[in-house]
Every structure is written in structure tokens, then in C-alpha cells.
């Protein structure tokens, strides 16, 4: 798990929302619920961190790249 690259905010956020839905299902075994909760807390912390540290990334397509794409 730790080998995986940091997921994007959107991925983490979507996973977090999924966890909430699962947790609201009362049929869940307790152990699984606890695991989900921990995972939810982790994702939530990650999301907060990603939000706080986010900086707009701006790239520019070079004119050449534009031409190449057109040729392709």
C-alpha cells in the first residue's frame, strides 16, 4: 500500500465518500467498520493536506508540440 503514489484529491475524496456510504450500512461487521473508519480518517487527513498544500500547476503547450500533435 505504501508503495503506491499519493492519490489525487479527487480519488481520495471519492474513496472517502464511498467509505461513508459503507459505514452507514449497519449490516457491516464491527471489525470491518473500524477498519473503514480508520481508512476514512486517513483519507480525510490526506484530503485536507492536499487541499492545504495545493498550488496551481500551469504548463504551456509549446508551439512545436502543437504542430506535432496536428501532424499526428
Amino acid at each position: 500500500m505504501t508503495d503506491q503514489p499519493t492519490p489525487s484529491f479527487e480519488t481520495a475524496f471519492a474513496a472517502l465518500q464511498q467509505i461513508i456510504i459503507q459505514l452507514e450500512n449497519t449490516e457491516l461487521p464491527l471489525e470491518e467498520a473500524l477498519k473503514l473508519y480508520e481508512e476514512g480518517r486517513r483519507l480525510s487527513d490526506l484530503c485536507s493536506q492536499l487541499l492545504e498544500t495545493a498550488q496551481l500547476r500551469v504548463e504551456t503547450l509549446s508551439a512545436n508540440a502543437t504542430a506535432e500533435r496536428e501532424a499526428a
Binding site: 489525487s8 484529491f9 479527487e10 475524496f13 472517502l16 465518500q17 467509505i19 461513508i20 459505514l23 452507514e24 449497519t26 457491516l28 464491527l30 467498520a33 473500524l34 473508519y37 476514512g40 480518517r41 480525510s44 484530503c47 485536507s48 492536499l50 487541499l51 495545493a54 498550488q55 496551481l56 500547476r57 500551469v58 504548463e59 504551456t60 503547450l61 508551439a63 508540440a65 502543437t66 500533435r69 496536428e70 499526428a72
Partner: protein
């Protein structure tokens, strides 16, 4: 024309003022002169502090004084200057104090703009008829775009406006700029090519097509049908933000969403901001805790119920029940036994009493005695069994005594 009914010998003489006023009245009531377009070149242009515009319109053979009140100038979409050919609309009147016939202008455009506008209307009508602007073609915008393409000039203020807005609202996003000229002959092809290039980025969510404000000629590249087709051919939705609020271009009609300005385009591109996400995250965090708490509460209740049920079926309880039964039984047993014993005790006593009543000892207690021969132990019940000086034994109720017969014998 003034016509006089009286002889010229007695001409009617106007004051300058009344003649001037009459002239003004004539001019202002003329059907043509009160609503007229005129084309000419601006000269002697001046704009004093009052904000009103004064200039002369001229052609090769004539010139005309013109005034445009400040209150009308806000509609101007260009900066008039000397030498410029313009088409002006207004009403002719006479300015008595200056002794001048003037055009009071309420609208003015550079020459050619009217033609451009007609062209714009024709193109718009054609593309509309082709269905290019149909509402059902408009694609929904992503709520949370991760990767935003921007088609604009790399040196324009529009780009900075867009980047600043995105930085402020959603710094999570990634922006790819496809630079292109946004005015001039090369602009339409550049815009088309930039749109195509961005569409080759697989993870792009949205494109902003933008340009800052300018004259109608400046914005003309956005009234190009190739640009309109490229917008509709885009895989991802396109937001247009061209010029100012009052500017509408073909690109705006073709776009999935028209924003009044580049800044507004960046705002519409990010309906959800980082601040919204942070708030949402907070509420999710609370939900998360609440869900778990809720879950634990439910489990605890279920556990309690189960414990109660278990308790009812536990062996210990059965043993307790059994023991209680046992105790009761034992009590009954003992009660029965003691009753039985009491009954029998009574019967026994009766028997004993009866036995007692027939025992010789009882007779002795009443005063009788048993007499027996001291040697033979034979009971003596008759006189003939006795003789004088015979040693005898007398049994009384509480013991025996030895005696000798002294009296007569038979």
C-alpha cells in the same frame, strides 16, 4: 421656406433670437434631420473636462459641427480620434448662442463596423440554422475539473485574470495553456489549432477560450465559423469568456457556456472551490465519526439484547430454578415426614397408654401388691399356699420388700 403673405414693402423683421429659434424649430421637426446617419472623417476632436465630445465631421467638400453629450458616450465601443472615418447617428439642430447648425450625436461607430455587424448576423443565422448553437448540444460542465485547458494569448491580461481566479478558487487544478494569437489574421487558425491540441490531452476536463476586451474588430477572430466548428468538435466542454459583458461573439454562441469575461469564465469553470471542499471535508469527518458512533451504539444495544436472551437460557439459571424447586420439594418432604411422625407418635402414645393400663405395674400403683414365695419365687394368690413363718416377697409399685407370715394359716 419662409413665405410671406404681405407686400415686400413692409418686410417682417425678426430678432436674431426669434429667427434662430425658428430655425431650430424647423430643423428639429424635420422628419429626415431628426433621425439621421452621416458618414465622415473626424477632425478638430476635443473632449473638455465636461466629458462632452466636440468635433467636426468632414468629407472633401463639406464639414459639419458635431456634439456628443457625455451621457451618450458610454455607448461608444471605440476611442474617437482625428482622422478616423465614422458613421454617426443623431439629430440636427441649431445652436443659437454659437450660431451653428450642429449634429447632436447619440451613436457612433467606426466605418465598416456596420458591415461587420451585418456579416456577424448572417454567420450567426447560418450556424444557428445548421443547429450548431442548439441547447441540446451544450455539454454539462464538470463540477470539479482537475485539468483545465486555456486557449488565449500568453501575453494577455485575460490569462492573468484566469490564472489568478483559478489560483484563488481551486489551486488543486492543473492548467495547460495552449497559446495562440487572439486577434489578427492568424488568430482563427491559431485558436482552432489550440483547441485541437488541448483535445489530444487525455485527462483534460474543460477548456476556457478567452480574450480580454477590445473593439469589435479586435474580437473578430471569435466570429469565425472555423472557430465555432472547432468548439463544437471539442471532446471536452468549452467555456467562452470573450471581451466584456456586452460583447457577444459566434464563439460565445457555439460554446457550452458563455461567460461575460475571462475572470467569470474561470469562476464558472470552478463551481466548487477549495473552500467548499474544505467545508465538505469537515462535514464528512463529522459524518464519519457519527457513523461509527451510531454503529457502535447499535451494536451495543444488540449486544445487550443478546446478553439478556443468553441469560434467560443459561445453565446457571436452570440450576438456580432447579435448586429452588429442590428446596421446595425438600421442604414438602420434611413437612410430610414430620406430619407422618407426629401422627405415628400419637398412635404410639395411645398404644403405650393402652399397654400401660393393662400392665400389673399399674395395678400396683393403685395400691395392690404382688406376693411371692421368697425361695421359690412362686406367686402366692391363695391362702393354702402359705404357712406360718414363711418368708415372702412383696412387690410394691416402687420396689420389693421382704416379709414373714406371722398370722394364722389354713
Amino acid at each position: 421656406m419662409l413665405e410671406f403673405d404681405f407686400p415686400p414693402l413692409q418686410p417682417m423683421i425678426f430678432s436674431v433670437t426669434s429667427l434662430s429659434n425658428y430655425l431650430r424649430e424647423v430643423l428639429e421637426t424635420d422628419e429626415i434631420l431628426k433621425d439621421v446617419w452621416v458618414r465622415g472623417e473626424i477632425s478638430n476632436f476635443s473632449q473638455p473636462r465636461s466629458g462632452h465630445l466636440y468635433f467636426t465631421l468632414k468629407d472633401n467638400e463639406a464639414q459639419l459641427r458635431c456634439v456628443m453629450w457625455k451621457s451618450q458616450t458610454f455607448r461608444l465601443r471605440f476611442d474617437p480620434k482625428d482622422g478616423q472615418m465614422v458613421e454617426a447617428h443623431g439629430a440636427m439642430s441649431f445652436y443659437p448662442a454659437g450660431g451653428q447648425v450642429q449634429l447632436y450625436i447619440d451613436a457612433m461607430q467606426p466605418v465598416g463596423e456596420g458591415q461587420l455587424y451585418q456579416e456577424f448576423l448572417r454567420l450567426k443565422a447560418r450556424l444557428e440554422a445548421e443547429g450548431l448553437f442548439a441547447a441540446e448540444l451544450k455539454r454539462p460542465l464538470p463540477e470539479l475539473p482537475r485539468h483545465i485547458g486555456v486557449v488565449t494569448s500568453p501575453s494577455g491580461a485575460a490569462l492573468q485574470d484566469i490564472l489568478n481566479t483559478l489560483r484563488r478558487r481551486l489551486p488543486l487544478a492543473r492548467v495547460t495553456l495552449a497559446p495562440t494569437p487572439v486577434q489578427g489574421a492568424e488568430a482563427p487558425a491559431g485558436i482552432v489549432s489550440a483547441l485541437k491540441s488541448l483535445n489530444s490531452l487525455p485527462d483534460l476536463d474543460l477548456i476556457i477560450l478567452a480574450r480580454g476586451g477590445g473593439s469589435i474588430e479586435d474580437l473578430w477572430s471569435f466570429n469565425d465559423e472555423a472557430v465555432a466548428y472547432a468548439i463544437r468538435a471539442s471532446r471536452v466542454p468549452v467555456i467562452s469568456g470573450v471581451g466584456h459583458e456586452t460583447d457577444f461573439t459566434i464563439a460565445d454562441f457555439a460554446a457550452d457556456l458563455r461567460a461575460p469575461t475571462p475572470t467569470a469564465a474561470a469562476e464558472l469553470a470552478t463551481p466548487i472551490t477549495s473552500a467548499d471542499l474544505a467545508a465538505e471535508l469537515l462535514s464528512i469527518n463529522q459524518n464519519l465519526s457519527a457513523s461509527l458512533k451510531n454503529k457502535l451504539t447499535i451494536l451495543r444495544q444488540q449486544l445487550l439484547l443478546a446478553e439478556n436472551r443468553l441469560q434467560r437460557h443459561s445453565p446457571a439459571q436452570r440450576v438456580r430454578t432447579f435448586l429452588q424447586f429442590q428446596d421446595e420439594t425438600r421442604e414438602r418432604l420434611e413437612r410430610a415426614m414430620s406430619h407422618y411422625l407426629a401422627q405415628h407418635q400419637l398412635k404410639l402414645q395411645n398404644q403405650i397408654d393402652r399397654l400401660e393400663s393393662v400392665s400389673p405395674m399399674a395395678v400396683l400403683r393403685r395400691g395392690f401388691a404382688i406376693v411371692s414365695d421368697a425361695q421359690s419365687q412362686q406367686l402366692i394368690s391363695r391362702r393354702k399356699q402359705t404357712h406360718p413363718n414363711q418368708p415372702i416377697q412383696i412387690q410394691l409399685s416402687d420396689g420389693k420388700i421382704a416379709a414373714t407370715i406371722s398370722g394364722d394359716t389354713p
